[in-house]
């Protein structure tokens, strides 16, 4: 069970070998988490993440292999992960995502489909199964990693940001649908994070490391806020940015 500070004991991480997921898992294990099931597409990376979780205090870890480019495996991946935990699931993290260079793929139908699949369709299909299981359990939390990019979609990354925007808005409604079920859903909207995913990108203001994101997640789990911003200042920055007139917005965001 999770404790009064939202610190869970049993955790499932879908996309468990991503840098952000690993940083969060470490912090969770250092607090109260003892059982972690990590699902992802690369066994050796998953094993590495699992070893790291144990190093930080987990007593039981397991892994599940899946490929987020095929939504037909989402239900199975969730079931398998839940069953490997065994008991009640306190927290499910959806850290599945794919960022590709848009200029290379925007005219490539198959690549665009892949972006939508990994960033939107797979997570949404997985959420259906997660929702069903947690509601039956009567408790539990879902943390969906969205992105600050979803708040206002920029030209240079409309595919990624658009898919995240879909996921983000859908989750807002899904979270409302969970009222009174004992289950809750929180969205994480990080700014640019130094990680494998963003390697080689040009540095922008408010870029943080994964540990800062994980720290903000721990605070967000304790507060129960619907949206966790990282860094927290972005919440206020985007209150302004999202309402800027289009020409000003483009001027600021594309230079």
């Amino acid at each position: 069970m999770e404790n009064a500070f939202g610190q869970p004991q049993n955790v499932v991480v879908l996309g468990g070998s991503s840098d952000i997921a690993r940083a969060i898992t470490k912090k969770l294990c250092a607090a109260r988490t003892h059982t972690v099931v990590l699902a992802g597409r690369n066994q050796s990376l998953l094993d590495e993440a699992a070893a790291e979780a144990r190093e930080y205090g987990a007593t039981s870890t397991d892994t599940v292999l899946f490929d987020a480019e095929d939504a037909s495996n989402a239900q199975r991946t969730v079931s398998e992960s839940f069953e490997k935990v065994g008991g009640e699931i306190d927290l499910v993290i959806i850290a599945v995502g794919l960022l590709e260079d848009q200029f290379k793929i925007e005219n490539d139908a198959a690549a665009v489909e892949r972006m939508m699949m990994v960033n939107f369709t797979w997570p949404v299909v997985a959420l259906a199964e997660i929702r069903k299981r947690l509601v039956a359990q009567g408790s539990g939390r879902i943390l969906v990693i969205s992105s600050v990019a979803s708040v206002r979609v920029r030209r240079v990354m409309y595919l990624y940001a658009g898919a995240k925007a879909g996921l983000d808005r859908l989750c807002d409604g899904l979270a409302d649908s969970l009222e009174g079920t004992g289950v809750s859903l929180q969205l994480l909207r990080p700014g640019v994070v130094r990680s494998k995913m963003t390697e080689g990108q040009k540095p922008v203001p408010f870029t943080t490391g994964v540990n800062e994101v994980a720290e903000n997640v721990m605070k967000g789990l304790a507060s129960g806020d619907r949206v966790i911003w990282s860094p927290p200042l972005l919440r206020y920055l985007f209150m302004v940015l999202r309402h800027l007139p289009k020409p000003v917005w483009r001027k600021i965001m594309e230079n």
């Binding site: 009064a4 500070f5 009640e88 039956a136 009567g138 408790s139 304790a222």
Partner: protein, 444 residues
């Protein structure tokens, strides 16, 4: 039968369960038979997740009523769902008081047994379980009548067993004679923690009831200033108003959730200052009503809403006499970390009871109310756990919402003894709660 959201008094972790309200022993037995997992719940005054069970069946004991006449020696049989408030309304006019009462009358007899509640007289009279002669409980292995002489092992595992050995149906206990509904109170103000602790060590044994309220928000020389109130039931000769009317229910209540930041370091400091100054420096022989002395919090219904949506946790530990310094260290750690805490309650404990999960240790107990919010809080409390554990102390389950199973095992060295008894009456591990799952008390 209905799916209901339940949480503890601290309103932190919520979960959904099927709530049933059995009317008698047979109903309880049937519910146990038909459900995978079950826990009993009274008035929901445990602070954390002790009386909730996500996805399981929660049995409200509030229909398990009934009060027998009081024998000449004070023996009474009470349904588990009867509250201390109801019991006192019945017994005070006849000149009887409960032998032990916590800071609120809004707990049921079943809950008082499950949490083995203690009061301001622990150093003299022990905890609630010490006054129980016999209990009727329903376990998955069947209904049983248990006492310190009939299945003592199960009896003492049930006292303080957090409802995990069975559902309490009724309790036979011994009440305490009183002549009036007044308490004769001595109040003294202390400018620091050392002063009040020395006075409690020296003279608490001359009083039946004793409690100190400590200010955790002051630093330096005034760190831990305190107000000590001690007293005993007034006799007919002492008071000029020898009446025996029962306390009335509170008219004041908190109508809605306060904003989460209402209780912050500033407001708490201001409150503590006011409260400290309003106490007399030294006053002897003041007469107070029973409810004023024992149940000050019952004057304001739903006061837990003052802590807002995020709720609050209570941290209560006990440490042996030789580790009295732990109390000082704990308050120092809190006041230096800037984590706000409402008045802390400091008391002396007498001997433990024979139960494997008995919380009291002869020595000291400190209880702190802490609003959830400051990001340092989880860490500070984890540090306090280490401190308490290093002093061979322990944390009270009825207040807990954040301890870890490893710490429980170290703090309660007789845990396996408890689990063995639980296994005997509950081999399928049907008796469970969110707290039991969190702290590994379900058994395996």
């Amino acid at each position: 039968m209905s799916r209901t959201t339940l949480s503890g008094w601290g309103r932190t972790t919520q979960s959904i369960a099927t709530l049933e309200t059995p009317r008698d022993e047979d109903d309880v037995a049937r519910d146990l038979n038909q459900s995978r997992e079950v826990i009993a719940r009274g008035l929901g005054r445990s602070y954390g997740d002790a009386a909730q069970l996500s996805g399981g069946v929660v049995l409200s004991n509030l229909e398990l009523g009934g009060v027998s006449p009081i024998d000449l020696d004070g023996t009474i049989s009470v349904g588990a769902g009867v509250s201390l408030d109801e019991l006192l309304a019945f017994s005070i006019p006849q000149g009887w008081f409960v032998p032990v009462t916590p800071g609120t009358r809004q707990v049921t007899i079943g809950g008082a047994v499950a949490a083995d509640v203690h009061g301001k007289n622990h150093h003299v009279d022990g905890s609630f379980g010490a006054h129980v002669k016999e209990m009727r409980i329903v376990t998955p292995a069947g209904a049983l009548t248990i006492s310190p002489t009939s299945d003592a092992e199960l009896f003492w595992a049930t006292i303080g067993g957090m409802g995990l050995t069975g559902v309490v149906i009724s309790v036979t206990l011994t009440m305490m004679r009183i002549e009036t509904n007044q308490v004769r109170v001595d109040t003294e103000r202390f400018s620091d923690l050392d002063g009040v602790m020395a006075e409690m060590l020296a003279n608490d044994m001359h009083y039946r009831y004793s409690v100190a309220w400590v200010d955790c928000m002051t630093k330096g020389a005034r760190m831990g200033r305190a107000i000590l109130t001690r007293g005993d039931h007034a006799t007919r000769r002492e008071t000029n108003k020898p009446t025996l009317t029962a306390p009335k229910s509170a008219k004041l209540f908190v109508p809605f959730d306060a904003p989460s930041g209402l209780l912050n370091p500033l407001t708490i400091k201001a409150f503590n200052e006011l409260w400290f100054r309003s106490a007399p420096k030294h006053q002897v022989g003041e007469f107070q009503a029973l409810s004023t002395f024992f149940h000050p919090l019952d004057g304001l219904r739903d006061w837990n809403r003052l802590y807002g949506r995020r709720g609050f946790v209570q941290y209560q530990f006990s440490v042996p006499d030789e580790a009295g310094d732990t109390v000082v260290q704990a308050i120092k750690r809190l006041s230096s970390s800037g984590v706000p805490s409402f008045l802390a309650v400091l008391k002396r404990f007498g001997p433990s009871n024979p139960g494997p999960l008995s919380f009291p240790i002869p020595g000291w107990t400190l209880a702190l109310d802490l609003p959830v919010g400051p990001s340092a809080l989880p860490r500070v409390l984890d540090d306090l756990d280490e401190l308490v554990l290093g002093a061979s102390g322990r944390i009270y389950f009825a207040k807990d919402a954040r301890l870890s199973p490893e710490k429980v095992r170290a703090m309660y060295p007789r845990l396996d003894e408890f689990l063995a008894v639980k296994n005997r009456v509950d081999p399928e591990h049907q008796l469970a709660s969110d707290l039991a799952r969190r702290l590994d008390l379900v058994g395996s």
